[in-house]
C-alpha cells in the first residue's frame, strides 16, 4: 500500500516537533521536510547561549542521524518556491518537484523590521537565526556602542547578546512607555529597568526612531523628539512577522496583518493544507511562544492519526530569566481595580516586585506578575489554571507563610489530576503520578524519559520532583535520603559504615562505598564525617581536596578571592596584650578589622599566600584557630557575669570559656553556636543558640536547638537547675546525637523540627538515655576532645600542607594580581563584584 505523503515546509522547532510527534504515533506516513536554513532544526529559545560558547551543534534539537533513523527525508538550504494546489505539488529551489497528500506550513516567522529610513545601512542587524548571530558577533569586534530597538522579550535577549559580545555601552530603545509591554505593568517595568541599569544597560522608553543616519554605515539614530544617539551598531528586535508569503502566493487565506488562517484542527482554507507555529493565525492571534507551537504540532499530529484534538488557544503565561533576572507573568496579568483586587509587594533593595490579582470575592487568583524572584510562579500558575480557592490571606502566596508552618508541598496535593504541570510538553499531574505508580519511575531522569516532562524550558522541574516524592510517600514507598549519585546511602548510614570499617580518607570511603569520582556534595560531607569520627588534621591523607574551599584553606574565602582570619577568643575574653598583637598583625598585613557578632575580631583581606605567615605570628603570640571557616563550634558568647555585674548569679565568662575550649574544633553537620548568660536578663542571648545556658539561683538552665540567621528560632528548654558537670554531660550527649543523626548541612533547629516526638523525645534520649547510647556518646566525645589540636599550628609546621597556600603553582611567590581593594572609612574593603552576565 502506498503511504500517505506529508510535506513539511520549514525545519524550525515546531516543524521538528511535529515530525517527532507524528513519528511516535504512526509509521504509516512518508515525511519530507524542506528547510531554508543550512542546519537541522535548532533551539531558537536559547539562541543567546551561542555567545556563551555553545556551538550550533549543541543547540541542535536532534542528532545528525535522527532524520535518517526515522525515515524522514530532509532537505536543507532548499526552500520551496512554489505550490500548485490543484495538482498537489510543491516546487523546490533545486528545481525538483514533489507531490503531497497533506501539506504542512511550519514556516515560522521573520523579524519585523519597521520602515525607518536607513535600516539598510551597514551595522544594522536582526536577531533571529544563527547566521544573524554570526554577523552580529563579527561586527561587534570593532564596535564600542550598540543599541537594540525593542524592549520586549526578544529585544532584551538581543541586548544581553551585545553585552556578552563585549559592547561597552548598550542601549535599549522602546517605543512604549514600559519594558516588556505584553508581560509586565509600569511598576514592574520600573523595577526591571533599575535592575538592568545596574548591569550597565541604558534604557530609553517612549522613544520613536525616525531615521538611521550615517554614510553607508550606521553612525547614529535620530528620534522623533529631536534627540539622537551615536551608535556603532544596531539590532532590530521589534517583533515578528509570520512567514505567510508562500501560502498567500498559492491562494490560501491569510489574515489582514499576516498569518495563515487556521481552525482548531490547524487546517487552512484548503482542507489538505495545515499551518502550525508562528506562521499560523488562530482566532486573530499569532502565538510567538514555543509551548503553544508545540501544542499545535501535537494537535495536528494527533488529528492526522485519526485522533480528535482541538487547539483552543493557549495560556500565554511565561517565566524566563532575562540577563539573570527572573521575569514571569501568568493568567490575567493586567486586569485592574475595580475588576479585581490587587496585592503588590515591592522590595527595591532586593529588586523584587510581585503583583497578584485576586477576584473581588477574594476566592480566586486571576493572574499576576513576578520580577526579581519567580520561585512562586509554578504554584501561582496552577492556582489560576485550576481555580483553586485561595487561602484566607492570599498575600502569603507571595510573601510566604508567616505562621512558620511548613506549607511546602501542601499545594501540589490540592491540584486536580488534569492540572498541566509541563506546558512545553503538555504533561499533566496525572501523567507524572502514573509514571511513578504504573511505570515504576524511580527518579527525575526516569520521569523525563517516560513523560518528557521538564525537557522543554525546564521551569516545571521543581514541581515534578515534588510530585514524584509526594507520590512515593503516598504509596508508602520509603524515600531514601541518599547523599548524591555517588553514594547510595543516607548520611547516617555512611557515618556508621565509616565507623565500623575504620576508614580515614575520602578516597577509601569512595572506593569502599561509592562510585565514580565524587562531587561537591559528597566530598565535604564525607570529610565532615571523617572529622567528626576521628578528629584528625583535616588536610591530611588527601582529604584536603575533599574539603569545601573554606576548610581547605582554613579561612573564609571572601568576595574577590581574599580570605579572613579569625583567631579564637574563648568567651570573648581577651587581654590588652593580645588585642595589641591583633592590631599589629592587621596593620602589618594591611587587613580590615571588625568585631564579629560572636565576640571576636575578624581580619579581612588576607592574600592566600600570606595566610601561613599571619597565622605563624598569631600562634607565636598564643592564639589558635577560631574555626570560623568550619562546620563546627563557632563561639560561646558570654555576658560579663557575676565577677563584675551587680545582677550576675554565676561566673558566666569562666563557664563559657570552659565550654568553648571543650568543644572547639569538633566537626558537625553544620556550624553550631553557644552562649552563657549570668542571669535571667540574658545579655548573651543564649536562647538564640544551638545550645544556650542561663544561670538560675540553683544552677544552670540548658536550652537547645535555637538559631538566629535567616529563619530565627528560639531555643527550647531541655533541663533546669543543673550543676556545671551535669549540664556538660547533657551537652555532650546532645551534640553526639546531633552529629550522628542530622542530615547534611542541617542546623540543630531544623534537625529538631524534623524529629518525630520533638523536644520531648530529645529530652528522653539525652536525659533518660532512652536509646541506651549515653555512655558510648560520652566516650566518643571524650575521644574527640582529647585529640584536639590547633589545625593552623599543624598547617604552618607541615611543609607539604604549607606549600598549598600559594596562588600560582608556577610562581609561588606571586599573589593573585586580580584582587582589588578600595578605601572605606580609613580601612580597605574589597572592590564590588565586577558587573557581568550575572546568573
Amino acid at each position: 500500500m502506498k503511504k500517505t505523503q506529508i510535506i513539511v515546509i520549514g525545519n524550525g522547532m515546531v516543524g521538528y516537533k511535529f515530525c517527532e510527534k507524528l513519528k511516535s504515533k504512526s509509521e504509516s506516513f512518508n515525511l519530507i521536510v524542506f528547510g531554508e536554513e543550512c542546519r537541522r532544526a535548532y533551539d531558537r529559545v536559547h539562541l543567546s547561549e551561542y555567545f556563551n560558547g555553545k556551538t550550533a551543534e549543541d543547540l541542535s534539537l536532534s542528532t545528525a542521524t535522527w532524520y535518517e533513523e526515522q525515515n524522514i527525508t530532509l532537505f536543507l538550504s532548499n526552500p520551496i518556491t512554489k505550490i500548485d494546489r490543484d495538482f498537489k505539488m510543491v516546487y523546490a529551489a533545486d528545481g525538483l518537484s514533489y507531490s503531497y497528500d497533506y501539506l504542512v506550513f511550519a514556516t515560522g516567522s521573520a523579524a519585523f523590521v519597521p520602515t525607518i529610513p536607513g535600516v539598510e545601512k551597514d551595522g544594522v542587524f536582526v536577531y533571529r537565526t544563527i547566521e544573524d548571530l554570526e554577523l552580529i558577533s563579527e561586527f561587534a569586534k570593532k564596535a564600542k556602542t550598540g543599541a537594540v530597538i525593542g524592549g520586549g522579550l526578544l529585544g532584551l535577549e538581543a541586548a544581553k547578546a551585545l553585552i556578552d559580545l563585549g559592547i561597552e555601552q548598550t542601549h535599549i530603545i522602546e517605543f512604549a512607555p514600559r519594558l516588556m509591554p505584553r508581560q509586565i505593568d509600569v511598576a514592574g517595568s520600573e523595577m526591571l529597568k533599575s535592575k538592568l541599569a545596574d548591569l550597565g544597560l541604558k534604557i530609553h522608553l517612549n522613544k520613536n526612531t525616525t531615521s538611521i543616519v550615517g554614510d553607508g554605515k550606521i553612525a547614529a539614530m535620530q528620534f522623533s523628539d529631536d534627540t539622537n544617539l551615536e551608535v556603532d551598531m544596531l539590532v532590530i528586535s521589534a517583533g515578528i512577522k509570520p512567514r505567510d508569503e508562500l501560502a498567500k502566493a498559492c491562494g490560501i487565506e491569510v489574515g489582514q496583518r499576516g498569518g495563515i488562517l487556521v481552525n482548531e484542527k490547524m487546517q487552512t482554507s484548503d482542507p489538505s493544507v495545515f499551518a502550525i507555529g508562528e506562521c499560523a493565525l488562530y482566532d486573530g492571534m499569532i502565538y510567538g511562544l514555543i509551548a503553544p507551537g508545540y501544542e499545535m504540532a501535537e494537535v495536528l499530529a494527533a488529528n492526522l492519526c485519526e485522533g480528535d484534538k482541538e487547539f483552543t488557544g493557549f495560556d500565554m503565561s511565561t517565566k524566563l530569566k532575562l540577563i539573570g533576572i527572573d521575569v514571569a507573568s501568568f493568567g490575567d496579568n493586567f486586569i485592574d481595580e475595580p475588576d479585581c483586587r490587587t496585592i503588590i509587594f515591592e522590595n527595591k533593595h532586593k529588586g523584587i516586585y510581585s503583583r497578584i490579582n485576586v477576584s473581588n470575592d477574594g476566592q480566586y487568583l486571576l493572574g499576576g506578575i513576578l520580577i526579581g524572584d519567580a520561585t512562586a510562579y509554578n504554584m501561582l500558575l496552577q492556582t489560576v489554571n485550576n481555580k483553586i480557592v485561595l487561602p484566607e490571606n492570599p498575600e502569603e502566596l507571595i510573601f510566604g507563610s508567616r505562621s512558620g508552618g511548613e506549607s511546602d508541598g501542601a499545594g501540589i496535593t490540592s491540584l486536580p489530576d488534569s492540572a498541566l504541570i509541563c506546558s512545553c510538553e503538555g504533561v499533566s499531574k496525572g501523567d507524572i503520578c502514573s509514571a511513578v505508580t504504573d511505570q515504576n519511575c524511580e527518579n527525575l531522569d526516569d520521569i523525563k524519559k517516560c513523560t518528557k516532562a521538564g525537557t522543554g524550558c525546564g521551569g516545571c522541574i521543581p514541581m515534578v520532583k515534588d510530585l514524584m516524592v509526594h507520590t512515593f510517600k503516598s504509596q508508602g514507598k520509603y524515600v531514601k535520603n541518599v547523599i548524591c549519585e555517588h553514594f547510595n546511602y543516607s548520611r547516617q548510614e555512611l557515618f556508621d559504615l565509616i565507623h565500623i570499617h575504620e576508614l580515614k580518607s575520602y578516597d577509601e570511603v569512595l572506593n569502599e562505598f561509592g562510585k565514580n569520582d565524587g562531587c561537591e556534595v559528597c566530598k565535604p560531607l564525607v570529610a565532615s564525617l571523617l572529622a567528626s569520627l576521628w578528629n584528625e588534621m583535616i588536610l591530611k591523607k588527601g582529604n584536603d581536596v575533599a574539603q569545601d574551599s573554606n576548610d581547605r584553606f582554613l579561612a573564609n574565602i571572601q568576595k574577590g578571592g581574599s580570605y579572613s582570619v579569625v583567631p579564637r577568643v574563648p568567651g570573648g575574653e581577651i587581654t590588652p596584650d593580645k588585642l595589641i598583637i591583633i592590631g599589629e598583625v592587621a596593620k602589618k598585613y594591611n587587613l580590615y578589622t571588625k568585631i564579629t557578632g560572636g565576640q571576636r575580631i575578624d581580619m579581612f583581606g588576607a592574600h592566600l599566600n600570606d595566610l601561613p605567615i599571619i597565622w605563624e605570628e598569631l600562634i607565636a603570640a598564643g592564639f589558635e584557630s577560631g574555626h570560623a571557616y568550619g562546620k563546627g563550634l563557632r563561639t560561646v558568647k558570654s555576658c560579663v557575669g557575676s565577677t563584675w555585674c551587680r545582677f550576675g548569679l554565676h561566673d558566666s565568662v569562666s563557664y563559657a570559656i570552659r565550654i568553648e575550649e571543650r568543644y572547639r574544633g569538633i566537626r558537625a553537620p553544620h556550624k553550631f553556636k553557644s552562649a552563657v548568660s549570668g542571669c535571667i536578663r540574658e545579655c548573651a542571648e543564649a536562647q538564640s543558640k544551638d545550645f544556650g545556658i542561663i544561670a538560675t539561683e540553683k544552677g544552670w538552665n540548658l536550652y537547645v536547638c535555637g538559631n538566629g540567621g535567616s529563619k530565627p528560632q528560639h531555643a527550647l528548654l531541655l533541663a533546669t537547675d543543673l550543676d556545671s558537670e551535669t549540664c556538660i554531660k547533657y551537652i555532650d550527649r546532645f551534640l553526639m546525637f546531633y552529629i550522628r543523626t542530622a542530615d547534611p548541612l542541617t542546623r540543630t533547629a531544623t534537625w529538631l523540627n524534623k524529629m518525630e516526638g520533638g523536644i520531648d523525645y530529645l529530652r528522653n534520649v539525652v536525659i533518660n538515655d532512652s536509646l541506651g547510647m549515653a555512655e558510648q556518646w560520652e566516650q566518643e566525645i571524650e575521644n574527640l576532645i582529647s585529640s584536639y589540636k590547633c589545625e593552623w599550628k599543624e598547617a604552618v609546621e607541615n611543609p607539604a600542607i604549607r606549600k598549598r597556600f600559594s596562588h600560582f603553582v608556577n610562581a609561588p611567590e606571586e599573589k593573585d594580581p586580580t584582587i582589588e581593594f578600595v578605601d572605606m572609612r580609613g580601612q580597605k574593603r574589597v572592590a564590588e563584584w565586577k558587573t557581568s552576565n550575572q546568573i
Partner: protein, 114 residues
C-alpha cells in the same frame, strides 16, 4: 620534543594537586589545572568563574556527574563540565577549556583554548 610555541610548561606532575586543582600563571592569564588521579586524566580551564568573575575555579572541588568530569566554583557552587566548559548548573555561561599533555614528568597546557 615538545613544541614550546603552542604549549606552556605549567609545572611538574608532582606539583599538581591530586584530585584537585592548581592555578597556573600564563602571562596576564590564569589557567586552572585539574588532575583526576583516579582516572589519570588532566583538564585545564580558565581560572575565572564567569558567574561573578572570580579567579577561583582552581580552588574548586572536582568530581563527576554521570560520567562527565566537572568542577564546582567555591563561591556559589556553579558547576562546569571540564570536557566542554559548559555550565552544568543550568546557567547560560561557559568556560574556556585547554588541552593538556604530559611529557617527561612535565605538565603542558595548550596556549589556545580547545
Amino acid at each position: 620534543m615538545t613544541d614550546t610555541s603552542n604549549w606552556l610548561a605549567a609545572c611538574r606532575v608532582e606539583d599538581a594537586v591530586e584530585n584537585g586543582g592548581v592555578c597556573v600563571k600564563n602571562g596576564e592569564e590564569q589557567i586552572a589545572l585539574f588532575y583526576f588521579k583516579r582516572r589519570n586524566e588532566w583538564f585545564a580551564t580558565q581560572n575565572e568563574c564567569p558567574h561573578r568573575k572570580q579567579m577561583a575555579l582552581s580552588r574548586g572541588m572536582i568530581g563527576s556527574t554521570t560520567d562527565e568530569p566537572k568542577v564546582a566554583c567555591p563561591f556559589h557552587k556553579k558547576t562546569f563540565s571540564l570536557h566542554t566548559g559548559e555550565c552544568l548548573s543550568g546557567d547560560e555561561c561557559a568556560i574556556k577549556t585547554y588541552p593538556v599533555k604530559i611529557d617527561n614528568g612535565i605538565v603542558y597546557i595548550g596556549k589556545s583554548p580547545k
